[in-house]
């Protein structure tokens, strides 16, 4: 599904990713863990194609295709989804309007027909109920005045609506209390599927108690320095990043 080889990427001319390699197969959930400043968010933005995140070396293949030159919206239409750490507010645009616009833009890019408002509404309502996204939230302006938990639930709702092949969750646990975390994790687990790969980026081991990954990669200084199974999270929790980085050096 995703094959990253010796990836180098820079922001404002400063190299952040320094030779990162990673392979995620369909049906797998991988976690990327690492301290602040290790390049976790940069990796997620580079994968999504954000302007200003420049690939200076290496390659990203998604479903076997080099996507370096594709703009973000084209990647989205091909099934790359990034659940953001800080979902943005768009005043005056109702959540439902946003969902419909996005869904139809993706469909159009794939040569599919637009869905009408009623069909989208039904589709969204079905998914909203599972994630306890209220009717009221759908009518309010996108993320405006939403609590941290509401914002993250809406991200997962979008993931469920767009049915991506590759879902990247960037610090989805940040700002969530334990109940909200559990709800979001359940939503994510429900979306695990043999056709879908997930990359869960997190700081803490806590999230991984709920979303159990197949592999864990430790990112430091723009490189993967250690890899392992789910038990690696516990080792990290016990030793701390500093010790693990020292051990790896």
């Amino acid at each position: 599904m995703l094959e990253i080889k010796n990836l180098h990427a820079a922001v404002d001319g400063k190299e952040i990713l320094k030779g990162l390699s990673l392979t995620v197969n369909a049906g797998e959930v991988h976690a990327i863990m690492g301290p602040n400043g290790s390049g976790k968010s940069t990796l997620s933005y580079v994968l999504a194609g954000r302007a200003g995140y420049e690939i200076t070396g290496g390659s990203i293949a998604y479903k076997g295709e080099d996507i370096n030159a594709l703009p973000p919206e084209a990647r989205a239409a091909k099934g790359v989804f990034l659940a953001m750490q800080y979902p943005v507010e768009i005043p005056g645009v109702t959540t439902l309007t946003f969902l419909k616009t996005a869904l139809n833009a993706q469909r159009r890019a794939r040569g599919e027909k637009d869905l009408d408002a009623m069909t989208v509404l039904k589709l969204v309502r079905g998914k909203a109920a599972e994630l306890r996204v209220s009717e009221d939230m759908l009518k309010r302006a996108l993320n405006v005045g939403f609590s941290g938990g509401e914002k993250k639930r809406l991200e997962i709702l979008q993931m469920s609506l767009f049915e991506p092949s590759l879902a990247i969750l960037d610090e989805t646990d940040s700002g969530l209390d334990i109940d909200a975390l559990r709800l979001v994790a359940e939503g994510v687990n429900a979306l695990r599927s043999p056709d879908r790969a997930m990359l869960v980026i997190t700081h803490y081991q806590r999230l991984l108690e709920y979303i159990v990954p197949d592999r864990i990669h430790v990112l430091s200084g723009g490189r993967i320095i250690k890899e392992g199974g789910k038990e690696l999270a516990l080792e990290l929790e016990a030793k701390g990043y500093e010790q693990i980085i020292k051990d790896a050096a």
Partner: protein, 482 residues
């Protein structure tokens, strides 16, 4: 780095001004330049009565002594008023009995503009008066309106057929000497629309006028007068387009609204005059005086404007709240892209007791454009318990444009309550990226965000025009994101 690339890509995509075509049609024009003879020529062309000619000449003599205003935040080379035509008319139009007699080329033009004048119009239930350069070429639905007692006709016709009404109201809201451009208009206005809604009548349909400048080097000076008698209601819409030309063309209109006791007038504009090209060449100079007089007790006047076109916009649709308990509203979206300059806002003059006004202004600047909100809220000594609420929001796209807010507040009554809120924001990179990541392309994302920003104003427009305005917002900003 990436930003520059995107900008180039986007500007290649940019849909150009789609109303920029020219209709090839034989024109009859007044000789170039402006003198008493020009005024007499126009008046004679219109077969006007003597009093109207005198009124025009009075205005012209005042205008000669006046100076162009220079207080607005707009810059343009000096206008040579002698180097323009003041009257241009399609040669074989004026005396028409039905649509069948209108030049098919004109009808084709209106079709291109999306204004079906015949059958489709009937279905849409909108009565349209279309002003092409200087003359009004077709008015639909006249008969049905006549049944309701509503007069909706070209002002040139009203001057001939309803002289008493015109004499009673013309120039009573915007006096002949009001300002340089209004005085110029009073001298040379060629056509426009007259509406009279009699006592207690709710106008059975939306009334609409489309203005089109077609001829080159020609100014357009239309004059609109709308009177809602006691307890009457009317909703009126105005749309404007012009061909692409390298030269700047002057548009100096005057609109007067009069609402008597308990009457309500809703006036909506979708202004899409040619804004000039990406380098700032050409475009319409839109110097317009629009004013409503809430003359009667409990009357209401509401202005809604979507200003997307024109190289320069100088326009302050205002309300004089004369009657006690009268209400004035101003809802505005002003978009300036490339080298456009907009200086627009409103004046709310509170004269009567318990008068209320509400101002919602949304200014969007992109490219190298400058966008100024200029507004006056004035509470006079007798306007006890007057209330005003003003909200001015500016949105900036890119780093080379400017937004300015210039509110003037004068209160001479201690019981008045005036609130003013202003915000300035940018379309943030993260907002744009969020939309892109969800599959929404650059242009559509900007349109979505800007339409969200303008929502409160768009909601004020009648449904079918709101849809058109939303699309226009998107088109006007194409190529604006980097």
């Amino acid at each position: 780095m990436a930003a520059v690339e995107t900008r180039e890509k986007v500007s290649q995509l940019g849909e150009k001004y789609k109303y920029g075509f020219v209709t090839d049609i034989e024109m009859e024009r007044a000789p170039k330049g402006l003198s008493e003879d020009t005024v007499r020529y126009i008046s004679a062309k219109k077969a006007e009565p003597e009093w109207m000619l005198e009124w025009r000449l009075g205005a012209f003599r005042r205008w000669v002594e006046m100076h162009e205003p220079d207080w607005a935040r707009v810059h343009y080379p000096e206008i040579d008023y002698q180097n323009a035509y003041y009257y241009a008319a399609p040669k074989n139009t004026p005396q028409k009995q039905s649509l069948d007699e209108v030049d098919p080329k004109l009808l084709e033009t209106y079709n291109k503009l999306g204004i079906p004048l015949s059958e489709q119009m009937m279905l849409a239930g909108v009565a349209v008066d279309a002003v092409f350069d200087s003359v009004s070429v077709a008015t639909t639905f006249k008969e049905k309106l006549n049944e309701a007692g509503v007069i909706f006709c070209p002002i040139s016709e009203a001057i001939r057929d309803y002289p008493d009404l015109v004499k009673k109201y013309l120039g009573t809201v915007v006096p002949v000497t009001d300002n340089f451009f209004a005085t110029l208009n009073s001298a040379v206005f060629s056509d426009g629309t007259f509406v009279y809604v009699p006592k207690g009548v709710r106008c059975p349909m939306e009334l609409s006028t489309y203005f089109r400048i077609n001829a080159s080097e020609t100014g357009q000076f239309e004059r609109t007068l709308i009177v809602a008698d006691e307890g009457a209601y009317v909703s009126y819409l105005e749309g404007c387009t012009a061909p692409k030309r390298d030269e700047n063309q002057l548009h100096a209109a005057v609109v007067e609204l009069i609402a008597l006791d308990g009457a309500e007038i809703k006036y909506s504009t979708v202004q899409n005059w040619y804004p000039g090209d990406e380098g700032g060449k050409g475009g319409i100079y839109n110097f317009v005086t629009k004013r409503g007089d809430c003359r009667g007790h409990g009357s209401k006047i509401s202005w809604t404007q979507v200003e997307t076109g024109s190289a320069i916009t100088w326009k302050y649709p205002s309300c004089i709240l004369r009657g006690d308990n009268s209400v004035g509203e101003f809802y505005s979206i002003a978009i300036a892209n490339n080298y456009q300059q907009a200086d627009t806002g409103t004046k709310m003059i509170h004269l009567g007791k318990n008068t209320r006004s509400r101002i919602i202004s949304k200014g969007i600047s992109a490219g190298k454009a400058q966008n100024t909100y200029r507004g006056l809220v004035s509470v006079h000594p007798k306007a006890a318990s007057a209330r005003n609420y003003t909200q001015c929001d500016s949105l900036l796209i890119g780093g080379s444009c400017g937004a300015h807010t210039v509110p003037y507040i004068e209160s001479r009554n201690p019981t008045a309550r005036i609130e003013h809120e202003a915000t300035t924001s940018k379309i943030a990179d993260d907002q744009l990226f969020y939309c892109l990541q969800r599959g929404i392309g650059q242009e559509e994302a900007v349109a979505l965000i800007v339409n969200g920003f303008c929502k409160e104003v768009l909601q004020q427009l009648p449904m079918e025009f709101a849809v058109e305005a939303q699309k226009l917002v998107g088109i006007s900003l194409e190529g604006s994101v980097g």
